[in-house]
């Protein structure tokens, strides 16, 4: 039983590591700022979620009781990730950070800049 729990925790840890790595890979590889924005808000958040859940399990296995700190950290990260993504995206738009060529509806960025309803 304990072996399988440990195996599951290891699996979660590895999944988390892979997602964090893929997120970082996306940071380097993706073509423009706005696509890069997707990497940390998703891949990294799930990666860290996996690692924190594994941490909760391992703590319980060691007989140190249910440690709630990890849950507080993951909850905090899940709440703040979209907020910081939103703020950085808004700031980048104000600075006219260029879009990748061939972005669908690129002209819409002008509407967003002055916060008006889209034309047409």
């Amino acid at each position: 039983m304990i072996f399988w729990l440990e195996a599951f925790a290891s699996f979660l840890l590895l999944t988390g590591g892979v997602f964090i790595l893929i997120g970082a890979l996306g940071m380097v590889k993706l073509p423009d700022f706005y696509t890069r924005l997707h990497a940390p808000t998703k891949a990294t958040t799930l990666g860290i979620g996996c690692i924190l859940v594994a941490s909760v399990m391992l703590h319980a296995l060691r007989g140190e009781g249910l440690s709630i700190q990890e849950l507080v950290i993951s909850l905090f990260l899940f709440i703040t990730a979209p907020v910081s993504a939103y703020m950085v995206a808004k700031a980048a738009l104000q600075r006219r950070t260029p879009f990748k060529e061939g972005t669908v509806n690129e002209e819409m960025s002008k509407d967003i800049l002055v916060r008006r309803a889209p034309k047409g």
């Binding site: 893929i22 423009d32 990497a39 808000t41 709440i79 993504a85 939103y86 819409m108 309803a117």
Partner: protein, 162 residues
């Protein structure tokens, strides 16, 4: 009188619970936690503005579980797109017409969109009737809008009853 002493009773209880979970369960921490749980709302209450309350907690719980599931699925999708060549990528901006109203429900919707399938919310229009979204890959604009409206906006309207 009681209202004055505890302006935010739910927050006070939550604060005490979190304090006790973060530290160990002892009399000292209980007293310190109680002091903090009572005094922090005194400072914080004037700052909070009235917002829409959750009308259906059970629906809210189901919504949270659904979003957690979607986060996992969307991550595999995004991971796949990252590992494939950039040439296949077709990012785009989308304007989502909103039926939902109120600052808090809209904030929840925007955060959900940021956390799920290949979409990040960028900004609202001034009149709060449009939400601009950046999508990592746009195949069909209308089906994406339809998906977000039925999957996330409709349950949120039910939860907040607006």
């Amino acid at each position: 009188m009681l209202k004055k002493l505890f302006p935010m009773p739910l927050h006070s209880v939550l604060l005490l619970i979190v304090w006790l979970l973060l530290n160990d369960l002892s009399v000292g921490h209980l007293v310190l936690g109680l002091i903090l749980a009572i005094s922090i709302p005194w400072v914080a209450a004037p700052l909070s503005d009235p917002h829409a309350r959750v009308k259906k907690p059970l629906h809210a719980l189901r919504y949270i579980l659904m979003v957690l599931g979607d986060i996992v699925v969307s991550n595999f999708e995004v991971a796949g797109r990252i590992l494939r060549s950039n040439k296949h990528l077709k990012p785009g901006l989308i304007a989502l017409p909103l039926d939902l109203t109120g600052h808090f429900p809209l904030a929840v919707l925007a955060s959900t969109i940021s956390l799920t399938p290949g979409t990040v919310s960028v900004d609202f229009s001034e009149d709060m009737k449009w939400l601009y979204i950046h999508a990592l890959h746009v195949d069909d604009e209308h089906s994406l809008i339809e998906r977000i409206k039925t999957r996330y906006e409709a349950p949120l309207r039910e939860i907040f009853a607006c």
